[in-house]
């Protein structure tokens, strides 16, 4: 594309820079800023909307859950395992040497102080996203008495820590807090 004006005489000691170059730069920048600003609105449009965010926490009454029992609640479209651990299960979880774990984490770091009987987990296998079995007493719970993933055989202990692969990580913990001794708020 032969541009007649680029051959124009340049001024002020910049032999290769013409007024046309400057105009092109300014025009291009203005257009880019405008398109970028609009593009941001379109991208943000696809993020979770306000009504989705408003449903981002659930409350759960713990009274009906007896020791050894677990319940599954839905939070942000994901299954949350809430389990009432027996004293023996707590002891097993606390006594494991961290050297035996592939994703070392102490049980105390996975429960709330003073509420060690309650373990709250995101019930999604860290391998490929299946929901592990074991939250119901009738389910297979694997060798470590926690959870067993039917998809590829990963096993988790009573603290939700991975004990046998292929899952690489412990079951994740959702953000939650005790509103009282018998009520938690997830999210």
């Amino acid at each position: 594309m032969a541009d007649p004006s680029t051959a124009a005489v340049a001024h002020h000691g910049h032999p290769d820079v013409t007024k046309r170059d400057f105009l092109k730069l300014v025009t291009g920048s203005a257009a880019a800023i405008g398109v970028g600003a609009v593009a941001w609105a379109f991208i943000d449009y696809m993020e979770p909307s306000k009504d989705v965010l408003a449903l981002s926490s659930v409350e759960l009454d713990l009274v009906p859950i007896t020791a050894g029992q677990g319940v599954t609640v839905l939070w942000q479209g994901k299954p949350i395992f809430v389990r009432h651990r027996t004293p023996q299960e707590i002891k097993e979880a606390e006594d494991v040497p961290l050297s035996q774990l592939s994703d070392p984490q102490a049980d105390s770091a996975r429960v709330k102080a003073g509420h060690t009987q309650w373990i709250v987990l995101i019930g999604i296998c860290t391998h490929l996203g299946c929901i592990p079995l074991g939250n119901k007493p009738t389910d297979p719970r694997g060798e470590w008495g926690g959870w067993f993933c039917p998809c590829h055989g990963s096993q988790y202990d009573t603290s939700g820590r991975v004990r046998r692969g292929p899952a690489p990580l412990n079951l994740a913990l959702p953000p939650y807090a005790f509103d009282s001794d018998t009520k938690i708020k997830i999210g």
Binding site: A41, Y45, K50
Partner: protein, 423 residues
Amino acid sequence: MAGQQHKSEFANPVVNWIDTRLPIFTMMQKEYGTFPTPRNFNYFWNFGALAMVTMLIMIATGIFLAMNYQPNAALAFDSVQRIMRDVNYGWLIRYIHQNGASMFFIVTYIHIFRGMYYGSYKSPRELLWMIGVAILLIMMATAFMGYVLPWGQMSYWGATVITNLFSAFPIVGKPIVTFLWGGFSVDNPTLNRFFSLHYLLPFVLVGVVFLHVAALHVVGSNNPLGIDVKTPQDTVPFHPYYTVKDSVGLCVFFLVFALLVFFSPNYLGDANNFIPANPLQTPEDIVPEWYFLPYYAILRSVPNKLLGVCLMFGSILVLFVLPWLDTSKVRSARFRPIFRQLIWVWVVAVIVLGVCGANKPEGIWVVLSRVCTLYYFLHFLVILPILGKLERPLPLPESISRPVIGGGGPMPSGAAAKPMEKA
């Protein structure tokens, strides 16, 4: 073409490699880079590009709206309100889409007027013009169905009234309406199919617009003088001259568009559409969107149902045969002293029809809409055919470039008798 490989002239090796095998860059360069375009365009020639840009904006915003819209009679109204309140920037994207429809019609109507004023529909551009009228019809169908989707009172009753137009036809009328509805009233099946077609038709529109542009690039653009390009001196390359000129128009266009979207997004809307559709109650007065008002006035001006419907459709269909109704060989109104005045009378008639359509059909509005409907058709069916024979056109300039760069001097006076040559 067997064995003959296209030789690309692009310096960039990647572009060159692609272009040698699929010469899209050569094509773009030919059609939008060096494309010879009459050098005397005024700003009326912006509006085709503006319409193209608006169409793309409508498709982009529409695709995003469809991500959150529910085409179900029970959910549609609330899903639109959710877009307005809960979805990030949903208000912006919906207001762009809603007001974009108005902007689309504004620029398209000006584009059509440009064609009428400068005689762009005349030989050899008849087919180009007819494809344009088809585009207008597709636009209208799309806009109508889109207006139904928010499922407010005006959506619902607009859909009821417009689909009932077809009941005017004897015998087949009622079955056609039942077919359009997919039931015995406007209801969920109607909404579902309108959504489906509202999503489809814009892509049909893109195809027909492609034909419109392709036809334009075969015969070349008309220009304000309405005379043919004769020498390369009469043209300038499309880029940078008209890319820049279109960009200036685009900035003004975006300014108006933004004023509408950000400062009075509901100015052109109807308050009744904030009420969810209610099949048991018709709003006090049914008014279509502003861009349909003139046709609506034509419909109501005739006391006979079938005749009113025929005239309304006829008011657009008559545009298809405009190239043959206008018998004058001179294209541009600039050289047609009488036509130049009468075309404005026609514009006034259309605007008055629009005002009539917005008012209740009583008293003076009935009289006015009848007079203007009569003039609308008189203009096409009587004035244009006769005027072409009677009117004595002004002398045409020898060429496009002569008044601009060629030696000056008075225009040759003998040109008046010279008929326009066919391209």
